[in-house]
Structure formats: C-alpha cells, structure tokens
Symmetry: C2
Subunit: 257 residues, 2 copies
C-alpha cells in the first residue's frame, strides 16, 4: 500500500482566481499534495479546445499560502497538457480534479464545459479524474455544502480507482438540503438556442448566445432528475465516442463507388 | 417520398476560404440546395467550444457564385447554432456536412476537432450530420479523390437516415489509391504531448503545443488501421458520453457522508 500522500492536480475553467477553485484546493489539501494549474482568465464554454495557432504562457503564482500554483494563458485542456508535460514531467499525479464550476455541467453540458473537458483530458492521460460543478452561476456562490461530498468522492476514487477510459462528472444542487448521492446517466437534454440580436454603436448587428435548457428525458436515472430532487449526481463519463450499436447498421449499407 | 431537393448546411473549422470547404460545397451542390456558414478565421482545435463572453458577428458573403454563404466570427459550433437559429429559423436542413478538414480527425481527435464538433452540434440539433477529413494538413491538399465517396456517403445518409443520437466521422487517406470504405470504431490512441519551449524577444519563456500521435490499439476494426491500409474510415459517433458499463461499479461504492 502506498503510504506517501497522493499528488493532486487541481484545474478549472473559471480561472485561477475563481472562488470555486479555492474551495476545491482547500478540500484537496486535507487529502494530499496539491498542484494548481488554471487559466489566467475565464474559459467557460471552451469545451475540449486546445491552443494550436499561438504560443502559451505558464507562470508560477503565489495566491494561496503553501500551495504550488501556476496560471496558464490557454484553455482548461491546455492546462492539463502543460501540467503533465512541464510540471509533473512524466511522473503523473494520483488524481486530477476540475472545478468547482460556477454553474451546472449536467447532461449535454459535458460537451461544452471547459471544466469537464479538463477532467476528460486528465482521464486521457490515464490520471483518475473528476469534474465538480455547482448549480449556481454567480461569483459569490455558496460552495460550503459541497466540501464533505467532494472529499468522500475523491477518497473513493483514490481507493478504488476508475475503470480505464472513464472519469466522473459530479454536480451539486444549490443549497444545503442534500438528500445523498445518485449514480446517474447523462440526461437526453439540449439547449434550445436563442441569440439576442442587438445593434452596436455603429448600427451594425451582433448576436449574443443565450438559450433555454430543455429536458425531454423523463427517466428517473438521469443527472437532471437527481439534481432536481436535491441529490448530488455522479455520471461516469467516457471519451470513446464510438456509437458501437450503429456499426452493424452502417455495415448493411451499399456504397456505390 | 420527398421530391424537392434537400437543403444542406455546410460548415468547417479551417475557415470559409479554406480549399477543403470548396470541394465539399461543389459535391453538395450536385445533391441539393447548399447554405454555407463557416468561421471567418481558422478554428482548428476548438473542439466543442462556444462563445459566451462576447458577441458574435454573422455576415453574408459572396464567394462562390450562386451559393448562399455566411461568415461567422465564432467557433464551428457557434456557426451551427447561428445557422439553425438565425438562418434556417426552425426549418432545419436535411443534412449537415462539416469539412473537408485539412488533417485527419480519426481516433481521439474527434474530441479536439472543430470540424467534428460542428457535426456533433448538428446531430444534437437532430440534423443528420457528417464530418469529413483528409490526411493532409497542407493548404494545397489534393481532395480530388474524396469527391465520389463524399457524394455516396451523403446520399446514403439522406436515403437511410442515421440512428438517433449518432453522426458519422469520415476520414480519407492521402492519395488516390483507395481500396474502399470500412465501418470502424474509434482507435484507442492519444497524443504524446510535447511543448516547444522558446524565448520571446524579451527573454521570457513561452510554449508551443506539438506532439506525436501514439496508437497502442492493435485492433483491425479501428479507424487508424483502416486509414493506414488505404481505406476510407467511417466511425459512427455518439454524444451520450455516459460510461453505462461503469454505473454498477460505482453503485457498489460506499460513500461515508
């Protein structure tokens, strides 16, 4: 059995000064040796974007006393790649945690979320990885009810490991009245897009993305259901996107070439 | 049976002036009524990023004679969202095709690729969607051998439809000696990251992402195998990322909260 303290990489997408990452750092310090690598500016909605066409900066910063911290000019996924390559240098951390995101990343949001994409990148690097998000978009969100669950989930992952090619997507309801933890599947929901249409000071049109989250999935085994009923939702996520069930169907097609 | 010509949305991530999208537009014009909505600048590696923190521009342009075209200041996924909401206005196109990407999007690259993420967004919008990519990163890549396959695959999708929640990831080997089409699964491969470490004119360090694609998957049913053996690879892709097989394992964990 490993006796030394685990090494834990902490990332996020709201940026290194976000209150959510501080809560995550504080919980992780109770468990192991923490290294933070986070974007120097908000990167919400960046999904699995990586920076190819321009250089990246990675600078050590001294924000929380006693914690090794770096700010990165790139995306959340860039942060994980730089951490693994330039900070850990091949000696991978025992755990990668991302968040706590200011705002839910349940259901289809796993695709758009920089928080979850950072955790996915951790899993691709074969580091046990977890993304954490709270149902509160505000900067002064109250994360206090999340701490004990985060610690338990992290300890379970360190103890049991995760199946190869999988990671965890953990979402918290807002408010303190949590009934417990539910293991869920991703709800089949989507955003009904709307774009605010406005005129700039030069009378030229511009658009601003908004939208309404639409859940048409009536299952009681989904993350949307769990959160609506005040449970912490945990969805095991995979990054093999192959729709294996569709392969036989496509094999029956006749291509005339 | 529908007798009118299908309406086809064409998007990409290399930008509206990329040679690859012109080839795709030319093939689609043989099949249906084409509307192009593409980024006004290269957006490679943008994954499923969306633009939240700033406004978007969408401007009609006249590039290819007789084709309705719009350039967009956002990401490939933004292009699809704006197309559906502001151009098609609820009357969705019959097909969404993305590409042809300058560079492969096989295996794990489905996650990083703006080309594939645009197609995924099309599928989320319940539009039958296909991403096309060629194994040649250069701007003057030769796409001529791809055309007849693209037409056949698009016609098959229009005729047969796709299973709900799925889309197609089509990759072409470079060069004209194609042996045929293989339906594949995504190879279990990853990028071994490297970052070029350089000094700027002010002697400050910066990093530039590079890396080597590593395939450790020996299966002969993968897209990597098919492409290496000169086949066109088609992987059915899904956007439900739930690792369903991991749910029973997680349900056996004991959380002490």
């Amino acid at each position: 059995m490993k006796t030394s303290k685990p090494t834990i990489l902490v990332v996020n997408d709201d940026g290194i000064t976000a209150p959510g990452i501080k809560v995550l750092v504080d919980v992780m310090r109770e468990i192991g040796h923490v290294v933070v690598v986070a974007p120097d500016s908000p990167q919400s909605g960046m999904g699995h974007a990586i920076t190819i066409g321009k250089p990246l900066r990675l600078d050590k910063v001294d924000i929380y006393e006693g914690v090794e911290m770096y700010k990165c000019s790139g995306t959340p996924v860039d942060c994980v790649k730089l951490a693994v390559t330039k900070i850990f240098k091949g000696k991978k951390p025992d755990l990668c945690v991302s968040g706590i995101n200011h705002g839910l990343n349940n259901s289809i949001n796993v695709l758009y979320s920089g928080t979850m994409s950072a955790a996915v990148e951790g899993a691709i690097e074969r580091i046990p990885s977890i993304g954490f998000s709270l149902d509160d978009y505000t900067w002064d969100a109250d994360f206090s009810h999340c701490a004990k669950y985060i610690k338990q989930i992290a300890l379970q992952v360190l103890q049991n490991g995760l199946q190869e090619g999988t990671l965890l997507n953990v979402n918290f309801p807002n408010g303190a009245h949590i009934k417990g933890i539910k293991i869920c599947r991703q709800a089949n929901a989507k955003w009904a897009e709307e774009f605010d249409e406005r005129l700039d000071p030069y009378k030229r049109k511009y658009y601003w993305l908004s939208g309404v989250f639409q859940n048409n999935d009536l299952g009681e085994d989904t993350d949307v259901w769990a959160l609506e009923h005040n449970y912490v939702s945990i969805v095991p996520v995979q990054f093999d996107l192959t729709a294996h069930h569709a392969i036989p169907v496509l094999n029956s097609w006749k291509f005339d070439v």
